[in-house]
């Protein structure tokens, strides 16, 4: 892994983005923001799944006002997502939003942006410049090279905000196409010090959207790029949060809940590993402490892979060997597999 790009840190509520802080997991509500009760409930559920920042859409004044009530009932910082109408950004900040996102493709008037910045500066509220392939502002060079154009639009907006002496900036340059997204982020990462919010936009349904997001976000994180991530899925936002942690865990950037190593099974397997691993994962779904479990179908890789697992099993014909940190603890009968693993987990 490349060394992480050192970005200039910003503070969204009590959460630090960039500057060497752990990569932050965020999501966005899919409820109508004006429906305060449903929005609070969804955010509370996401908090339970480890969501650290939440964004809400602000399509109108009523939604901006709802932020006040929502904020009172949640514990994680809230970001207001603004398009088209700069007054909604101002209202959202006044309602207590901890940060706002504006899209340079949708608010283009410099005087309007200046008014937003005045308000943000007064309350020290960061602004995300959220550039999106699907909503780029018009421009002569747009269709020549989308990556360069996304970077240009971002840099132009940075310069505009800096001209108002505003530096609490976070950047995103999202596209559906992974190579486009990776190229855009890689380019901007070299050109500025601002922290980066990573995502693949409109990635789609599960599992295809998860795969696309994992590939794109994974490549960038492995390059050392990225300070906060949001997985966009056409699914319940809890799936976004869960997927975000799995991406970060796969690169050892965060620890969160169990990691289950389990073999794909093959013609060598004598046990229903899919069922056993599934039952163990289900049992552990509310555990937030990091623990590594290995569920292996035979002796080919079993003991070796179980080497650095906190608890492992290598299943043979009718009997399996239970491991802790690579050492065999005991051997158990097939009917006892589930129970034996759970027992060892509780000992850890």
């Amino acid at each position: 892994m490349k060394k992480r790009r050192l970005s200039r840190p910003i503070q969204i509520g009590n959460v630090t983005i960039g500057g060497g802080a752990p990569v932050v997991v965020q999501s966005m509500t899919k409820t109508d923001t004006r429906d305060v009760k449903s929005t609070i409930n969804q955010i509370k559920e996401l908090e339970d799944f480890g969501c650290e920042l939440i964004r809400v859409a602000v399509p109108d004044e009523e939604a901006a006002k709802a932020i006040k009530k929502i904020k009172k009932n949640i514990t994680i910082p809230l970001i207001a997502d603004i398009h088209f109408d700069y007054r909604l950004a101002i209202s959202s900040i006044r309602s207590g939003a901890d940060a706002i996102r504006i899209n340079p493709g949708n608010i283009r008037d410099k005087e309007q942006i200046r008014k937003i910045v005045i308000e943000a500066k007064q309350r020290q509220i960061p602004i995300r410049i959220g550039v999106n392939f699907g909503s780029l502002p018009p421009g002569k060079t747009r269709n020549q090279n989308y990556v360069q154009y996304m970077v240009k639009v971002t840099l132009d907006q940075i310069r505009l905000l800096e001209s108002f002496d505003f530096y609490l900036i976070k950047l995103a340059l999202k596209a559906f196409d992974v190579p486009t997204t990776v190229a855009a982020y890689s380019s901007i990462a070299k050109k500025t010090e601002y922290p980066l919010h990573l995502g693949i936009t409109e990635a789609g349904l599960m599992p295809s959207g998860i795969i696309r997001s994992s590939v794109g976000i994974g490549i960038l994180l492995h390059e050392g790029i990225g300070d906060t991530i949001r997985v966009s899925l056409t699914a319940h936002p809890r799936e976004e949060v869960k997927a975000a942690y799995e991406i970060l865990k796969s690169l050892n950037l965060r620890q969160y809940g169990p990691v289950v190593v389990s073999c794909p099974t093959c013609g060598r397997t004598e046990t229903d590993i899919i069922e056993l691993a599934g039952a163990i994962e289900k049992y552990l779904q509310n555990i937030r402490k990091p623990i590594k479990i290995a569920i292996m179908g035979c002796i080919v890789n079993g003991p070796g892979e179980a080497r650095d697992a906190d608890v492992g099993i290598a299943c043979g014909k009718g009997r399996g060997a239970i491991f802790r940190k690579g050492r065999i603890i005991r051997s158990v009968d097939e009917s006892q597999y589930f129970q034996a693993i759970i027992e060892e987990i509780h000992k850890v």
Copy 2:
């Protein structure tokens, strides 16, 4: 994306691996190989999902003999997976396996390997050197640096095979840990010209195993590394094949079936996009021709993202605009969304 590493091509049956050929999708059966009927049925199902190479476990002589019958009933090339007993490699080749995989951690006797190579050479059958973090051979430097040790074991085995004047070689250096796997493949890619089989071993259940595999395989493919991929999941192998294509599609390395761009929905959305996109994806599940569909919940990114989609919809309040290649074709009522998209798809 980096330029693809140009590897020395090998031929497995009628499938070319490396040398600039498209990245090949492979999987492994999870049936008992001795159960010929079930194994054939599973392979035929995987062929339907686009699997291009299939591997079967060969735990004993009966499984090696079964290859003969299996081969008669399938159309894709078959690879025999061998551990511990070199005689099973020889039997598998004699039964008509198109390639074999041996693991240097499990067959260590040079004279036994020489006997396998004589048989493979006679029939021009490639050998995959399948090194695995979980089953590394013992060695003084093993625990000092796993990546270096995996590379060393691979290079030693390459030299051994080359000393028998054998060059039909494919390599894999798999681990569960993504940074370890990426580092091992990146190192071997610079040190040899042999084609590479990518995978993250024992990646686990869905969706965590899919995420881990997508991150690891995605990083390597984006680096230009990899000639064939296998996604290892504790799930039915059809999920492995589907995930493999989604990884390749996300990097524009292969086209296969539909690509559905769909927005994550938010407080701005007036339509049940999850349901609509899900219904469309389900309708298209047996389509193998490449087609790009965009299902968008509002006008923020809708028309923009629909720009390069073959068919797109941007849903507003009660009505939606149907796009083809970024041009509005017509506007339809909410009750007609599904039907209208399907109609346009059939016109493409």
